[in-house]
């Protein structure tokens, strides 16, 4: 299972030492929910300077008609670069790839909708090579997808999961209402849990602010031959992130056992959670619970 890091404008060399050769970059103007984004020029520069790394480029925004020509141009340019794939949310990207006959691999990245084996296989049959599985399904569901579809599976194993994305500028609206001229683009909020609101040009994202981290889940994914484990450094301290990468790498190459990893984690990163790896969500409540 390859480790993939969501790049945060830090030196790529600091990751390579942990055997990381795969990266996801948010493309400037075409991605959302990435705290650091990269221009096409910067991406070209990285590919020249690091010819042995593999880049996935995120274009996970929702697009409107007036933008489609630019989206086309960008896809054309990306298809000429040696990139691993493009993460998409909007089906316009899949349609444009087909229409322009682009040799570009795609990652189905509809955040909360990549949830079952049949639809994964459907997209695979439509030429989508990868699926970034939703964080809100269980490990068991993920394994069933892996076993029953041809799509190459990516799973978030470390990071602050995205909970929601809006076109609205929720922080700007909030401060406007308060008569506060602050132009903060980041706010920590709390309601039986910690959450982080970040605002950018194309809208607002809310993330969980409790770190998703589960070594056992990581090892289970490895045993079941998942293709890519995603490590999202967004909103994390770089040194802590590198320390965690080191632990995961040691677990993977068996120089650390699970107990050692857990013991390290309890001392260094005590506040974590396992997300929905072992927790099924419900959707029908009993009448007396309403």
């Amino acid at each position: 299972m390859e480790k993939v890091v969501v790049l945060q404008n830090k030196s790529i060399d600091s990751y390579i030492q942990y055997g990381i050769h795969y990266f996801i970059l948010g493309l400037e103007h075409y991605s959302v929910s990435y705290s650091v984004v990269y221009s096409l020029e910067k991406i070209k520069e990285i590919l020249i300077n690091y010819p042995d790394i593999q880049l996935f480029v995120a274009m996970n925004r929702t697009f409107y008609d007036e933008e489609l020509e630019q989206v086309k141009d960008v896809l054309n340019e990306l298809s000429l670069l040696k990139i691993k794939g493009v993460l998409f949310y909007d089906l316009a990207i899949l349609e444009l790839k087909k229409e322009l006959n682009l040799s570009l691999d795609l990652v189905w990245n509809q955040t909360h909708m990549v949830t079952n084996k049949n639809t994964c296989q459907f997209y695979y049959n439509k030429g989508v090579k990868y699926g970034y599985l939703s964080n809100e399904i269980t490990l068991e569901e993920m394994i069933e997808i892996k076993k029953n579809s041809n799509i190459k599976c990516m799973v978030l194993v470390l990071g602050y999961p995205i909970m929601a994305h809006s076109k609205r500028k929720l922080l700007n609206n909030y401060f406007t209402f308060m008569g506060n001229k602050a132009s903060k683009k980041r706010l920590e909020i709390k309601n039986s849990g910690d959450y982080l609101v970040t605002e950018e040009q194309y809208g607002t994202t809310i993330r969980s602010h409790t770190l998703l981290l589960d070594f056992e889940a990581f090892l289970t994914l490895e045993e079941n031959e998942f293709d890519y484990a995603i490590f999202d450094e967004s909103e994390m301290d770089h040194e802590l992130f590198l320390s965690l990468l080191e632990v995961y790498t040691k677990l993977q190459n068996k120089t650390f056992c699970l107990e050692e990893a857990k013991s390290w984690q309890e001392k260094s990163v005590p506040n974590i959670w396992s997300g929905f790896f072992y927790k099924k969500t419900i959707y029908q409540v009993k009448k007396d619970e309403k």
Partner: protein
Amino acid sequence: MKNKRIELLSPAGDMERLKITLLYGADAVYLGGKKYGLRANANNFSVEEIKEACDFAHNLEKRVYLTLNIVFHNEDIEGVYQYIDEVVKAGIDAFIVSDPFIISYIKENYSNVEVHLSTQNSTTNTKAIEFFKSLGVNRVVLARECSKNEIEAIIKKEQIDVEVFIHGAMCTFYSGRCALSNYLTNRDSNRGGCSQVCRFVFDTKEYDQKFTVATKDLNMANYIKDLIEIGVCSLKVEGRMRSLYYLATVIGSYRKIIDAYYDGNLTDKLIEEQNLILSRVANRETSTHYFTKEASWNDQYYTGRQEMSNQDFLAIVLTYDRSTHLLTISERNYFDVGEKIELFTPNKDVYVFTLEHLYNEQGDEITCARHPEEILKIKLDIDKEIPKYSMLRRKVG
């Protein structure tokens, strides 16, 4: 598309709501079954009830659409093929679907049934629509983030039926792009369990003012003419869990506006009158959100309780005896003799009267109605049929 008369599409949370909205002027209804819909905690319809609903609607030459719009997990796929077969046999006219695998399956196996692309896909552009058209989708319910110009451009280019929301609750986040409910309450927003976390209140470390993201409701009564003229095919009202009174009032108001447009009688005065009625039945403030501009701070709530309680709805009519002039009603809110009351019917008739005589079920004269669902009688000086499901409300304005 442009040459067809526009459709008024109403939610129907159960059989009674279905009958009322169709009688009050909806051209079609959308409803959910016991599974696979995004309002898992509404009453919803069994397959037998779906058949009954279709028979009722088809007798009125109206249509029924079934929501099959959850984001499927592996366990949900098992059983859905049989379910689709059963509801097609029950007579539904269309499925509302978000999953392209399910869309594909339906179109390959049931070519006579329409598929409408759910707003859950947040479709905003022509290329995405072309993808779904290639799967056989007949209609697209556009994302609520689309402006008038964007909607018009899509219709001009794609020549596909387009449906837009015109009234009711608005999501703060892109539909399908929100799992707040999953994280805060363990209830799956994309499988019908949304607990409306967007209406929760959050603390911040830095400010005394709580943080909220709740939105005002949508009200497009001022823009029905625009929507008709740009070629929208269907106007959708949100609210499968709303009350009978809300549905009858909202559908009745939009029915009047639409009919007045086609009759050449649509005036600012009529729109203003209907807006007054709509504002009284609403339990939140309203806005047009993205239709004419980018959504702004004015389209949201920031403090305290957003819902306003409404006690205008007084009773629902059970029968009217023209020989004795006695109206039999089932009470819903407290009212007194001497109050000014408005009786409105599915036939768009409206009568205003001051309540002079009120009787209990035994025929004893009383001075006030105080028990919900109590059967009461009112003496009325009306020599016309007053159908079942007509309603009484407080006269306002």
